[in-house]
Symmetry: C2
Subunit: 218 residues, 2 copies
DNA sequence: ACGAATTAGTCACAAAGTGCGACTAATGTC
DNA sequence: GACATTAGTCGCACTTTGTGACTAATTCGT
């Protein structure tokens, strides 16, 4: 099992790496990984591994996929189960010994299978961004809408229009305002919001044919 | 590894089950399953298991997820990797010995973990319907647009409006007409189409907050 | 032969959703 | 007090979507 822990660091997304167990290994860093014990579920194992590396439980932990190509893995396991962990930007302080955050687009040498897991994690995050409260788990409990928009722009890799973003957010009933305001130095103070999803009237839209093109196994 | 093979049978979706290895088992049927060999990737293992059960390679085979709760599995394995196989409706003829198609909403007794894998497969199919050419792999190489719409309605569990469906399909450039027509008894003959995705101008829409509500691990 | 029934396919319009420029608001800086 | 800076809203053109009503081509019944 391999965990891809992500947290925003400034304007970049960073992943948590730990030093390789064996210093003679070719790759000096690795994703936190371990084998599930007999008495735990894989979700429980993921929590345990993440706690060991991060020192605290993550804001969200969800399964990515299983990886069983022939690429090398630090444990030489035949198959890995990848998990994505999201850590709020405020809580990215001290991590475990022998661990460090690296920008996801500038990782040091890690085992090939782990690199492909990180790449798959980034793709999955973009794909699930509108299905799962991913962006909110990368922020502290209360945040400004500009912060939220920045996270979306970071994950999507493109700029969003302020008015459209807020209109869509309002229509979705995902956040509610607090009565606190933050002044971040210069400029007008921003209202703080919290993630508080409400029941929405199911819109029941028609069919979409979004990303369909080709596929494996045809 | 467990394979959920699906094919439409009339107006219902059916899954392929095989007789349990051990007749003393509580559940007499099971999803096709096996352990990957040392020299094969998990994708290769999935193809092998599916061929053994179906007698032919499926139209599409993609990974679902890993399942490692404590529920019972015929092999007593600690974790299962679920795969989804899609079989065209034309080719659902003879299957391997000791195998049969059952409607997914009326499965006989199978191991609890396998039942949850089937349920997860159905959810994943609905979620990926607009990302992956799922519907096309449940149909023969050429098909009418009404057949295609029927598949979508079967998978989504609701009726779609004919004009909207066709408009969206045309805009997506996923199908091209052949010069054949099929007359299916009564009514006007329908033109046959084939799945032939073309490069589309990327629409780059704004953000959607579709299915975000709650989640695990908070 | 001819009309009803049946299935395929299209059109047009109202309603809803989206992109985006331009505006107002509240703060710090000089 | 003017100005830079960030927050937040408005309005409008344009696009997308839901839907009913239409036309088209065939079989079936009499």
């Amino acid at each position: 099992m391999d965990i891809v822990s992500l947290t925003p660091h400034g304007r970049r997304l960073t992943a948590l790496l730990v030093r390789a167990d064996d210093p003679r290994e070719k790759e000096r860093w690795a994703l936190p990984h371990d084998v599930p014990r007999r008495d735990e579920t894989i979700d429980e194992a993921a929590v345990r591994i993440e706690r060991a590396a991060l020192g605290a439980p993550p804001g969200l932990l969800e399964q990515l996929a299983a990886f069983g190509d022939r690429r090398r893995h630090p444990s030489n396991a035949h198959v890995s189960i990848g998990y994505i962990a999201l850590v709020a930007s405020g809580s990215d302080g001290p991590v475990a010994d022998q661990a460090a955050w690296y920008p996801v687009d500038e990782l040091p040498a890690i085992a090939p299978r782990q690199r492909s897991i990180v790449e798959a994690a980034m793709q999955a995050i973009r794909a699930r961004l509108d299905q799962s409260p991913i962006a909110f788990r990368l922020l502290p409990p209360t945040f400004t809408l500009s912060q939220l928009q920045e996270i979306y722009e970071l994950l999507l890799g493109r700029r969003l229009h302020k008015a459209s973003f807020r209109r869509a957010l309002h229509a979705s009933w995902l956040v509610e305002p607090t009565d606190e305001w933050r002044s971040e130095g210069r400029g007008r103070p921003a209202q703080l919001f919290r993630y508080a999803p409400r029941r929405r009237r199911g819109s029941r839209r028609g069919v979409r044919f979004e990303g369909v093109s080709g596929s494996l196994g045809g």
